[in-house]
Subunit: 159 residues, 3 copies
């Protein structure tokens, strides 16, 4: 058992993998934060999607009026979905990239730029900033993921 | 080759990793089940999103009336999206957590509570149960994921 | 350091894991492509979700008319969401499957059929093909994922 454990921890003791683990958790937590922001806007704007969520505001017609969409709630939800669409590929491709033996400095560059771009994307979406603020931050994160994908395919190619 | 294989299977022979693999597959299968439930409600309620899906009900106006949203279909779809938003972070953070060398008993506690909470969340959404049933089950899964994230960051921190 | 690196690259040097990495990156890139297709349709159809995205078309009422949904944009978005719902389980269950020691030929069969089914699904959604084209391609990918899940649970079962 202890020998096995030692081997397992070698993975997490590798510096590239540690960096990957740190940045992957940071962007996943950032994505999870979107749930709390959505919930907070739903409560502040009184705009809910499920009848049972409005029960505390009264019964019948009185509660029904809170079953509605709100532009700010929908904006946060679009930001959340965009996170799913972009952070899932980063997590998956990044994991394989971290196992493909990149230089530590190159790997850190990829992880840092991606995390920065996605945090910038969230601010650009929620403030909101005028375009091309949001578009650029999205494109930077996208390009970083493509660059990691190229390295994985070059290293592991086996069709 | 056989030496390599031996090393690979050491990962899956580790008990924490086995437990992670078991619970990760269970919650991913649970999430996949939402697709079947959506399809079943779409057929029973005759509520489709794509014109080509309604072709078997006739042509023209006759088929067009089945291109509509249905409250029960939308409810299942919201449950599915909520799964994506919460099971993806569990899968990613949980994988890194399983590699960060937790105690087996602590890891099992995290995995079991998360899986239980998400199964409860699905029942709370689909029945539906009055609040705060769904909210609580969501929060428990969320808290378990945060707890695993804390352990990963404490073990692997490398910015 | 170099000893550690050697151990890490053993993972990516394993042929089953290489095949997994190759196909996982291919389907994740295919999913990422949906973002570009959505953006291209939004621009061609002038159908946007955010007011700041329409600013370049003028101000006030003139820009507001481009804040609308378009059937083709919504179709691509449904295809993208369907990818998330199906490629996420493939990535997660497939990773654990690749670590569960399958035969190389069996693993390749799973990965190839899944990738082919999802590429077929995208064509079926975007052209669109008459049913059951899209339904069948979806079901094939779903069945492959279930088959891998069964192997993982059989190998790693630890509740």
């Amino acid at each position: 058992r202890s020998g096995e454990m030692a081997k397992l921890t070698q993975l997490i003791d590798n510096e590239v993998f540690q960096a990957y683990a740190t940045y992957a958790v940071i962007v996943l937590l950032k994505m999870m934060l979107m749930s709390l922001i959505t919930a907070s806007f739903r409560i502040r704007r009184k705009a809910f999607a499920n009848p049972e969520d409005t029960a505390s505001f009264g019964k019948g017609e009185n509660a029904k009026k809170y079953l509605r969409t709100d532009p700010d709630v929908e904006r946060v939800r679009r930001g959340h979905l965009n996170d799913l669409e972009n952070i899932v590929p980063f997590f998956g491709i990044g994991l394989l990239y971290a196992l493909s033996g990149p230089e530590l400095s190159t790997a850190l560059l990829h992880f840092r730029i991606f995390a920065g771009a996605r945090i910038a994307h969230t601010f650009a979406y929620l403030i909101p900033l005028p375009q091309p603020g949001r578009g650029l931050s999205w494109a930077v994160g996208y390009a970083v993921t493509i660059s990691m994908a190229y390295k994985v395919l070059k290293t592991a190619w086996y069709l």
